[in-house]
Symmetry: none
Subunit: 415 residues, 2 copies
């Protein structure tokens, strides 16, 4: 059984005024679940000393571990350390170790420290500071009446890194017998959730394997979960059954993004690529180049919005633009083949379409998108009609292009 004597306390006015939703709780909860722990409860309170004190007092009597996020910054609305001192009956003092951490952070970056940053070293007297490698605010740990409290900053990347470095190891030392909750995620593209649901062979799945769905537009995530003895084995079985039906729609697994997977496959296959984007406006390039090492395969990418750009950079004949328009099978084909001719890359992929909200016609409504892929084997072109708003059409188009690239790279690798 998962250990569930853990609570999260998040502090921040913006959580209670509806301005942002709380992503830190989700991050911590998911990481805990993956390691066999489960949250007993999560509590959010405003940046007010009184409220933080009340929440801490409630939780200290209730659970063994408390993870507190937020309110460790250097400005006036950062009141967590003060509240912790009050709730635990400690004085607030300058913690020399924490002060050194703050000094070091600035020194390592050749930056000047502001006097207000020194406030971040003002901690409850028995606090043990926790290093923050990303931001300026150290976290800290306190032990009180059998309860272990971890205070982390609210900035999500800092919080996540410090949780992993300073909180998880303590949990694992103190509660070593937690049986992890195993989960495998399959990111599918091209089928709706109800269609996927009907294709899953529920009756054949091993007992104890749960199936869950999530949406990450335009992907549908199917999760297989199991815990306890033999979980790996049962998940292997379930995965094989699932992929028998759905492998053609699989774009990535688990934490991997689709663009990560495509970048990896292109690199592994040794393929070079050039892109010509119109309606996606650089989204596909940005996704692929967000990956380190993208220069290994991407030679260039042209966001050719205007006709003049399609002619100059891609060699699209003016006649095609005049007779068929920029959103046409012929133009997509000319974009991809013209680009490949001038760059000499293994692959040239072109996207042209109408992302909206304006520009649609009866014949070519908003969402009409042509994809073309030029390779040694010739040019493959296809017309799609995507639904949704501008950003959804852009995302669908870019994801479809990634699916094309993935398929090509896989075929090369298997050949």
């Amino acid at each position: 059984m998962p250990v569930n004597d853990i609570a999260i306390l998040t502090t921040g006015d913006e959580l209670l005024s509806g301005e942002i939703s709380d992503s830190n709780t989700k991050t911590i909860a998911a990481s805990l679940a993956a390691h066999g722990y489960r949250l007993r409860c999560s509590l959010a309170v405003p940046d007010q000393e009184k409220e933080i004190v009340a929440a801490l007092e409630y939780l200290i009597g209730h659970v063994q571990f408390i993870i507190i996020t937020g309110g460790l910054g250097s400005t006036g609305d950062d009141r967590t350390a003060r509240a912790a001192a009050r709730a635990l009956g400690q004085r607030l003092v300058v913690n020399e170790d924490a002060l050194e951490m703050v000094h070091d952070w600035f020194a390592q970056r050749n930056l000047k420290m502001e006097p207000s940053n020194e406030r971040q070293a003002l901690l409850p007297q028995w606090a043990q500071p926790l290093p923050n490698r990303i931001g300026t605010a150290p976290g800290f740990r306190l032990q009180h009446c059998g309860c272990d409290l971890f205070f982390l900053p609210g900035v999500p990347v800092e919080m996540a890194a410090m949780f992993k470095a300073s909180v998880l190891p303590v949990l694992q030392r103190q509660v070593p017998d937690a049986t992890p909750f195993l989960q495998r995620t399959f990111k599918l593209f091209g089928l709706s959730e109800p269609k996927i649901d009907r294709m899953i062979p529920y009756r054949q799945l091993p007992e104890g394997v749960e199936v869950a769905f999530a949406l990450e537009y335009p992907l549908v995530l199917v999760k297989l979960k199991a815990t306890g003895k033999g979980a790996e084995f049962f998940l292997d079985q379930a995965e094989a059954l699932l992929l028998q039906e759905l492998n053609d729609f699989l774009l990535a697994r688990n934490e991997e993004t689709v663009e990560e997977n495509v970048a990896k496959l292109l690199t592994r296959a040794g393929l070079t690529l050039s892109l010509a984007e119109s309606c996606t406006g650089g989204l596909l390039s940005a996704l692929l180049t967000s990956q380190a090492g993208a220069s290994a395969f991407l030679e260039r990418s042209g966001v050719t919005y205007a006709d003049s750009a399609k002619m100059a950079w891609l060699g699209v004949p003016q006649l095609i633009l005049q007779q068929h328009g920029a959103v046409s099978e012929k133009c997509a084909r000319a974009m991809a083949s013209g680009l490949r001719q001038s760059t000499g890359t293994d692959l040239s992929l072109a996207i042209t379409g109408i992302a909206g909200p304006d520009g649609g016609t009866d014949e070519k409504p908003v969402g009409t998108v042509f994809l073309a892929l030029a390779s040694e084997a010739g040019v493959h072109v296809k017309r799609y009609t995507f639904s949704g708003d501008r950003n959804q059409v852009q995302k669908m188009s870019a994801t479809m292009a990634l699916a094309w690239l993935q398929r090509f790279a896989l075929q090369q690798l298997e050949a």
Copy 2:
């Protein structure tokens, strides 16, 4: 002052296993804020009777209004009504009015009711059922020891509709003098949070205007908040004082994104634009073209990763690449001026740098980025050294470019 004697209790295992983040709290919190109420706290617990009872007991002594969501369905893991009965010392009985609501729901849709749906009418004995026009589960209201409890289903659309129909009107009747809470957000770029904090003229701000900070990398958001009589007037005063100090760093306000603002200004100024991106890999183009109507100003954008692309598309002389490298002041200048020469756009902006993680040298470490802007007035080039990982360097570079474009467009509009 906003009334803040309200708490939310959400129930559901999936909230505490990290599978979904809690959107109901955000929905309720935003609606409360818009009507002048403020949440005191929000608490999430699993679908376990014991945990729900403990949370209710804690909250009943703490606030005047509690909104509980989730656990009213017809399956075995719906335990909220039972927990409410136990926490309030009431028996669980079939509520005739609730039963009729469930019957009616199925009758109106010509659907057959499952026996399990009758469970949804099993409520604490003094519960007053609340109609659900969308789903099958009625909500209910209980009053206990001066506390008013509203139980709503967890399905977001049902919850939102019932909150509006059955909870808000009660709050408005019982606390009629709540005055809406006004807020203005200023999105600043180029200064750290502590630096901004020191530049805010706190002492001159009208009393009752609160200042809050938030980070939206790489922006720092400063929020001015006020409520009550004269709030608009005081916010006007505070805004004027704030912008006296910080106007040069303002990139957008309130809900507007920076790219939205820049797209609007370029369009209004009638400026045409072409881009040459290297280390940002299309991010800047993707941001600008995520806006409807981007084709009004953006002529083209080249993601010129390889040297061959910089030469062919931007006319960068090979000699510059050989002598100074692609990441150099000279190359950035050549990229922008070459692009402008061939496109004839009013502005051509070039970005070249080292986003990392590899490719840095002692002389040009990771984070070294050159920006160049070519216009009729000539070419302006600047070298930056940004810190952070690959995606942070890319974001900083793209945002800096947006800041340059905004400044240029504003100068044109003011001239």
